[in-house]
Symmetry: C3
Subunit: 135 residues, 3 copies
Amino acid sequence: MIYQLDVHTEGQGLYDFTADVKAIVSRADIDEGLCTLFSRHTSASLIIQENADPSARCDLENWLNRLVTEGDSLYTHTTEGPDDMPAHIKSALTATSLSIPVVSGRLALGTWQGVYLWEHRHHGGLRQIVMHLGL
Amino acid sequence: MIYQLDVHTEGQGLYDFTADVKAIVSRADIDEGLCTLFSRHTSASLIIQENADPSARCDLENWLNRLVTEGDSLYTHTTEGPDDMPAHIKSALTATSLSIPVVSGRLALGTWQGVYLWEHRHHGGLRQIVMHLGL
Amino acid sequence: MIYQLDVHTEGQGLYDFTADVKAIVSRADIDEGLCTLFSRHTSASLIIQENADPSARCDLENWLNRLVTEGDSLYTHTTEGPDDMPAHIKSALTATSLSIPVVSGRLALGTWQGVYLWEHRHHGGLRQIVMHLGL
């Protein structure tokens, strides 16, 4: 049971696609299982974060931008733009795949957890997530 | 095959729950499979680390506490206490889900690997981990 | 369906073993499924990164080496050598397990994604990865 989710991004930020995942799980009509999400990119990643207060996600993004700066003299991989190498590093520090159990037909997310695609490039674009739903 | 594991924490630190996971795998009586662990929190995470010398876990925790400081002037999300935003960042840098193969009825952990819940808040509390055991 | 992959390392660096994983998936002859990789070590980790330009992986490694330095006065776990504690920290910041969906008989990797074992020790050695292939 494979599904593809497209997330359109318009620059750096965390894009909530929890509702899309929940909708697929709901339609699949399984009682127990495992939902695995996989990002097909090396400059965008996956993250489960607090879904209540947007300031938490904003601080998280600002903190990582300060840790992984653009224009670092260490970089030699610079031909694809100043935000490319930082995007690879940020992807390495976060998740490419995430697995969430399905319990009683629902994703077993905690009350305050949302599922986000984290776009690390300035321009953004179409990001592809492959979802596997297993028993 | 879904199980819930509760880990009671009493402040920041790595809490070993390897024995609980092994006990469930043993009772399940499967030969080969995949054990997936999922943390239902955004201020506590999962980590596989060295189980031999406690000093390694202590250094790891101190290192991350120095990288992700409390009272950072960057934070705007401060209403839930000085340890809340650092806890979200630390969770983002570590794992929300982990998958460990089961081989010959046992978790395929390396000799020196233990499974830990990493509590990032000072007060701690009841932390819920959902475990999925699949074939 | 469990497989063991051995990766021989000769010091720090990212070792591409994408072809080994693809070969197993191809021989398994399944249409859809989930491939999970697990590192049995706490001083080597797994990462999906850009496979095109080696400079991206080189910069990534140099960046992490600068963040997680050897000889840090914070370390108390020093008996196994100056590269041991940094290796544990680097493993904690990257992945111990990764899951990649299988679609139409192939790993659903993006065009620019490769699967790497990241050796964090200077001497290297034999690194064991356990792979689970499920439906």
